[in-house]
Subunit: 190 residues, 2 copies
DNA sequence: ATGTAGACCAAAATACGATATTAGTCGAAA
DNA sequence: TTTCGACTAATATCGTATTTTGGTCTACAT
């Protein structure tokens, strides 16, 4: 890691701490600078805005989640099991980093488009992974009714189901048995 | 229907019209009164606040949706098909009355608790219906892995899936094929 | 050149008092 | 019992003064 990336990392780490303490809107660039032990203007040498810091921060976290999920499903052969493990892993990892996202939930007003963009980026990656698993499942003849033509839409629906579950019963409630039921429901049906 | 209920209905109908025109926050009691052809103070003879009018209005709509859904699944024997038809019916009916809800979406700020209470009421009813269907399915031995003890949690999970889908891919997108895929996914699995 | 920081500016947020709307009450009348 | 106009207290809106904050610029250090 070169010097530039190292300082960026210091700033991002500092930002992560103050964001999770004060939220996105309430933290000022001055706060981040103070936490990082730098002058405010130095921050602008590395990032062009507060949004960019937040965006980089979030994308880092999401990439880590996706990386872990991909690693987790790597050795698994059965597409059904692949999907199960994928959902379980992303759920667990999102829960770990949920502290940042939970406070954002209450701040979706002016920064709505920013959050939407970050979410969209994650959605695209997630949908691609799910589509890959479904394609494999079709090849292995492991699914009941899924046709070739429906795969893309099915992947989208599954992603929406996961997303809905994450918001509604995961970030608030934390019943691991329910998560288990949800995974089995999607993969196996009733 | 007695006189009291008739006048209440006139007020609610008028309110429905102006709400769907101006939204919840922007419509004044004067607006509703004028639309109903009554004096403002007359409204307070029947309802104690604007919130109460809105609440009654929404509950009426939700009850109609639930009534239609119950009627639709009445003659069906198979619990799996019952659930399929239930989801399809509520989706269709919610879409019909979505005009009122879609404008509310942008107004969830101060009236958040009010909306939450109405939603909660619907959730409870919906979960009860789903639980009934699942119980029947267990009795008929129609489900793969669902155990007695999981039924309540499974009903909750299904309700959350439905709710998530409604918000994410239904109110915005309107791909009926996706809805179809979602229904089959939940009921049959992949 | 590459980094860093203090001074600086313009734009946005906040605070606040004056004004205007609006929710909700009350007594009278039909 | 039901309806309404007049009234009031609370809330929202608006204009303006003040402060905060995002972002730039320049000078200085390595």
């Amino acid at each position: 890691m070169n010097k530039d990336e190292a300082v960026k990392s210091v700033i991002k780490d500092a930002a992560k701490r103050v964001f999770s303490k004060w939220g996105l809107n309430k933290t000022t660039m001055e706060d981040i600078a103070h936490e990082a032990g730098k002058a405010k203007s130095t921050l602008y040498y590395y990032f062009k805005s507060k949004e960019e810091i937040f965006e980089n921060l979030s994308i880092d976290e999401l990439n880590i989640i996706l990386f872990k999920a991909k690693a987790a499903i790597k050795g698994i052969n059965s597409p059904k099991d692949k999907l199960k493990v994928y959902i379980a892993t992303t759920f667990t990892e999102i829960k770990k980093t949920a502290n940042i996202y939970s406070l954002i939930k209450g701040e979706i007003k002016g920064n709505k488009t920013l959050i939407d963009n970050i979410r969209k980026r994650f959605d695209i990656s997630e949908e691609a992974i799910i589509l890959e698993i479904l394609t494999l499942g079709l090849k292995y003849n492991e699914f009941n009714f899924l046709k070739d033509i429906e795969l893309k839409k099915a992947a989208n629906v599954i992603m929406e189901i996961i997303r809905g579950l994450e918001i509604n019963l995961f970030l608030e409630n934390e019943d691991s048995e329910k998560v288990d039921i949800a995974i089995r429901l999607v993969v196996e049906g009733l």
